[in-house]
Symmetry: C2
Subunit: 162 residues, 2 copies
Amino acid sequence: MSSRTAARAELSLWRDIVILRRKIERELEQRLQQDAGVSVADFEILTTLRSAPDGRLRARDLADVLGWEKSRLSHQVTRMEGKSLVERQDCPTDLRGTWVVITEQGHSAADRGENGYGEVLANRFDVLDESERTDLDSMARRVVQASDPAACDSAEAIFGAS
Amino acid sequence: MSSRTAARAELSLWRDIVILRRKIERELEQRLQQDAGVSVADFEILTTLRSAPDGRLRARDLADVLGWEKSRLSHQVTRMEGKSLVERQDCPTDLRGTWVVITEQGHSAADRGENGYGEVLANRFDVLDESERTDLDSMARRVVQASDPAACDSAEAIFGAS
DNA sequence: GTCCTATCGTTGACGGGTCATCCACGCCGA
DNA sequence: TCGGCGTGGATGACCCGTCAACGATAGGAC
């Protein structure tokens, strides 16, 4: 609950995080576009659906796992339906609900994108050794959880503890 | 030049960085909106201009310092002109050039936003101790510089070495 | 059954960000 | 002086992401 103001160091830390993230995201975007013709947002949806039973999830669960707002998900799914990467299906047990299902084309795009995506990340983070990567990840997680303890647990809740 | 594919750990690291950044940015956005009626993008421009001599910079330099694309800057300045936060001025020595100048209203908005912005960052990063923050920053910097050695130097080139 | 409230999802409006394109100007060499 | 190339910047189209508002259903209290 401290309300001290950020020092120079924190401003610069924040700036560097923003730049890091934008740089990598841009590279992922280009690579995915070239390999598979999909965007980063498309790809995140596809890989999440792929790892779910029957390649489908309730919209609500999908949003939770990704940490997205429901409206963002809805817009995204609409765009992806247009590209035939996913389909919407009615949910019989809850008439409010919607299943988002990956299509064959979705699978194929995910296949084509996977390697490049991994390569970009591997190359970018290669300048850090393994213990640094671990530390970095745990720091990021701690900062997020400090403000919202419930946030990072949705994936485990749905897919089971790792 | 390795083309190994990313392991689970890197995928998860990347995911956590994306979430961290979105969470903090969202909080900054809301706080700035409430305190000063400006967006994060607005605020970045305002504080950069404020720290420059005469409160103005060439569009090109402003873009370099922020690490933005020139078109992004142009769109942003257009929006900000509409809110009277900045003005464009012709550059007499290079007729292609444009100065972006902070207005009185811009100064005032920056004043109102400053504290809240700093507070949010201070609070978020409070869960890390000082050496962790330093490490985190240096890691972020290293990752960025590994892919683009020229990137982070523009600020120093314009404002002088720190 | 009837209300009341909470949840699920969609939509429209709007700011953010990239890309491709365009034009004006600076720079330089013939 | 002219032509050609590089740079500075603006613009339009398009996708991304948030917010506010909405309609519809679920689920509990009574």
